[in-house]
Symmetry: C2
Subunit: 329 residues, 2 copies
């Protein structure tokens, strides 16, 4: 900028004014400045700019899990879109369900003076946010799961309702022995399990705890193995509710391998679900909307919004495609 000023024969202030289009500058002077700018190839330094008091960095931090998971990818897509429209850049950071990594990542982002944070929190305690967040607390929005030990806006999916819908759907098609696969470390699958229990109780069916299968890591392989075990057991279930798209994949692989005729409903839709030999029935919600809502919530906070913390719950809906509509046998 100094070079530009020198070249145009004006003071720094004048260049600043021209660049920002603020204040009175004679047209001829402005032209000279513009000429100098394009000759030099000058571009305003946003970093120096954001250093000034009262000026935020126009950058937010987005902290989530493995982008290879379409759920996170849609989330990121939507958030980046909304933020870009609002003039914000997005610092992307991934913490694969590791509390320590997450903590450090938050520190890095705060250190870069992001104006806000969108976090998909893992199950660890998030009280650390208060300390690491420094004096002028940066606004935070949690997505997909609330965080323990920290108060903030949060955008969720109706996990319990979805779990109930999925289970009820199977009951409605005559199933009584319905297994559920859960990844215990996830908040979401816990709520889905609760919906499962409620649906069964509501239908007067006792929950057979042998059919509630906890998968420590929540991987496709675990789900596959668990399904195999369930279906080859003496008293197998006639239906399975898998609470994650990864788990659903495992269930499908195992049941195909066994040639079993088990009904399946999965939580979360996935690509090509309708193209499989038997199209897959799922309960789904609008992941991109999740990201958009979170982004807007964050923007409100950044703009000084002082309303009480919100808890937005997006609806989930069932898409019947085939695997969920087979009768027990």
């Amino acid at each position: 900028m100094r070079d530009v000023a020198e070249r145009a024969g004006v003071a720094l202030v004048t260049v600043s004014r021209v660049v920002n289009g603020i204040g009175a500058v004679r047209e001829e002077t402005a032209d000279r400045v513009h000429a100098a700018i394009s000759e030099i190839g000058y571009q305003r330094n946003e970093i120096a700019r954001s250093l000034r008091p009262g000026q935020n960095s126009l950058t937010i931090g987005l902290l989530l899990g493995d982008l290879t998971n379409p759920f996170y990818a849609s989330l990121a897509k939507a958030a980046v879109e909304v933020m870009a429209d609002a003039g914000y850049a997005v610092l992307l950071s991934t913490a694969d369900e590791d509390p320590e990594v997450e903590r450090r990542a938050v520190g890095e982002l705060i250190g870069r003076r992001v104006a806000g944070l969108i976090i998909v929190p893992d199950q660890g305690d998030h009280a650390f946010l208060r300390e690491v967040n420094g004096h002028d607390q940066v606004p935070v929005v949690f997505v997909d799961r609330p965080a323990t030990g920290a108060e903030a806006d949060v955008v969720l999916v109706d996990n319990e309702g979805g779990g109930r819908t999925a289970t009820q759907h199977l009951v409605d098609h005559g199933h009584r022995r319905i297994a559920i696969l859960v990844a215990p470390s996830y908040y979401t699958t816990g709520r889905r399990l609760r919906g499962y229990r409620k649906a069964l109780r509501h239908s007067g069916i006792d929950v057979d705890e042998a059919l509630v299968v906890a998968l420590p890591r929540g991987t496709t392989e675990e789900a596959s193995a668990a399904t195999h075990a369930l279906l080859t057991s003496p008293n197998p279930p006639t239906a399975i509710f898998s609470t994650t798209s990864f788990l659903t994949e495992g269930v499908l692989r195992a049941s195909r391998q066994l040639g079993a005729q088990v009904a399946v409903v999965g939580f979360d839709d996935f690509k090509l679900a309708d193209m499989l030999p038997t199209p897959v029935t799922v309960v789904t919600s609008d992941t991109e909307e999740l990201g958009r809502r979170a982004a807007h919530l964050l923007l409100d906070r950044i703009d000084g919004g002082t309303a009480p913390f919100q808890r937005i719950v997006l609806p989930s809906q069932l898409i019947a495609r085939g695997t969920g509509e087979t009768a027990p046998r």
Copy 2:
């Protein structure tokens, strides 16, 4: 930092020294500073830090297309991983194949003084990089496609080789009338088409230009419609090479709808390809490796690497699963 200094009763310099662990500071003094730091909740301001001369921002820009596309998602995942390990943060920006948006996005990133850029360029001219890039040219690495009008390192997939392999595979299984679906605006599909032509010529088969189908936008729907048209034509092909995973999906949908027995090989693998009624044969390459290589190339440049521009081509390989091995009929 000033507050910390005041509270600890020392000068700014001393705090800086303690924070960075550089220079001689009496242990007792350092303890006092540390105490003040945690009392105040101080966190070093990376922005101010990067403002200093000679210090880069430890941030890079990643500019690519829709994250919902698994290809971009894996790329981003790998790049973020490598960069995080090297202590860099990643500014994520998406420009959906729109040259004007891309140009502005690059400007934004440069304005934020990224230390380097990883770009998946669209087909437009990239000479603008030179001007927008300012005086001290920020290093750039292109991924998946080279950019016209700009010299830089680039990491590619062996598109031509992959196209040739895919086509040859179909020829080897007895096919003579092989259609190809191409999105003309993409650099990649153009090279795959070239491989297709070479394979056919090599086998002494004349290319029937009616079987070379250009899809203006490259969407699944277009591919579906084109496949329908091909298969219901008087002289239909017995095999289809679809040059993109989106196109492959369209081909599969249309051929299933028609109940047609057409052989299919797709470029790029996709999830559940092995779970479809007839598992899908694809040519694939390691997308994450693409991102990793790009990241490392960029890090080398940021560290002042001055080697001539590299052009890395990753191999592609065929995975036979079923749709590519059916005989013509």
